[in-house]
Symmetry: C2
Subunit: 136 residues, 2 copies
DNA sequence: ATGAACCTTGTAGCCACTACAGGGTCAAGC
DNA sequence: GCTTGACCCTGTAGTGGCTACAAGGTTCAT
């Protein structure tokens, strides 16, 4: 497989695959006589793994850890659970943050009476003083 | 006010204030004889505005638009409402995405039986094939 | 033989900062 | 008056995870 083929097969962009290679996430594949990268099935599996983990929001550092663990089949999987659980925790936190944000925005926008800027509640909500002056 | 004072007053880091100045979000303040930046109340208001908008997740491009609008007090505030509503929409989308993610992670982690990697359900969920081989 | 569609390397850009390095200035304390 | 430490200055480089060129080489169909 050439890089374009494996990109199509895994859904990882060509440039991203080369980037992963530079970063050491995937091993450098052998080259053809014309210096094209030549990939096999192991590469495809590894890239698919990375793509799924990235889709689940794992950072590249975490992906690297997960790959290392996945390759060491004897070790207990507690380490894997730990990475995933830590990530889940951060996702929960992020959701909580964004939900608080959503409420604030909802409230702010709900107050807008569509008049002129000088009586805009949204700008009011952002400006520091109630009797607000120009910001510059 | 020196830059450290206004940083303390607004909660915007010193380096970030200088960065905003470079980016043209805040005007360059006058300098003292010793070339220190010297800020007044208008700067403080503008920085506070920026900070609140950033806290609400607006991008710097959006903040710039909001600042322009805030300074033009006669225009109708529909434009402000539009920016805020668009942002709210993206926040809602992000929450939906993360919630779906949370469910997937929940499910994945819930299946972990804490055995060895070779029978780890989390790795399984990431690996491309059911009878999975090494990823490299 | 020509053109399109691929491949190569290397570099720069994105966002919104953050972290230095290597200097200058100022106020307090001795 | 001298030191110390906290501040300030500019400029540059780094962060994450790509993405987008530029400038060239290869392959394949027509």
């Amino acid at each position: 497989m050439k890089i374009g083929d494996i990109a199509a097969a895994t859904g990882v962009h060509v440039e991203t695959i080369r980037y992963y290679e530079r970063e050491g996430l995937v091993p450098s594949p052998p080259r053809t006589a014309s210096n094209y990268r030549s990939y096999g099935d192991a590469h495809r599996r590894r890239l698919t793994f990375i793509r799924r983990a990235r889709d689940l929001g794992f950072s590249l550092v975490q992906v690297r850890e997960l790959l290392d663990l996945a390759d060491d089949r004897e070790r207990p999987c507690v380490a894997v659970d730990e990475i995933a659980s830590k990530h889940l925790l951060r996702v929960r936190e992020k959701i909580a943050e964004l939900t608080a944000l959503r409420k604030e925005l909802d409230h702010m926008i709900g107050q807008c009476r569509h008049g002129s800027i000088s009586e805009c509640r949204i700008i009011d909500a952002l400006a520091p003083e109630t009797g607000r002056g120009p910001t510059r």
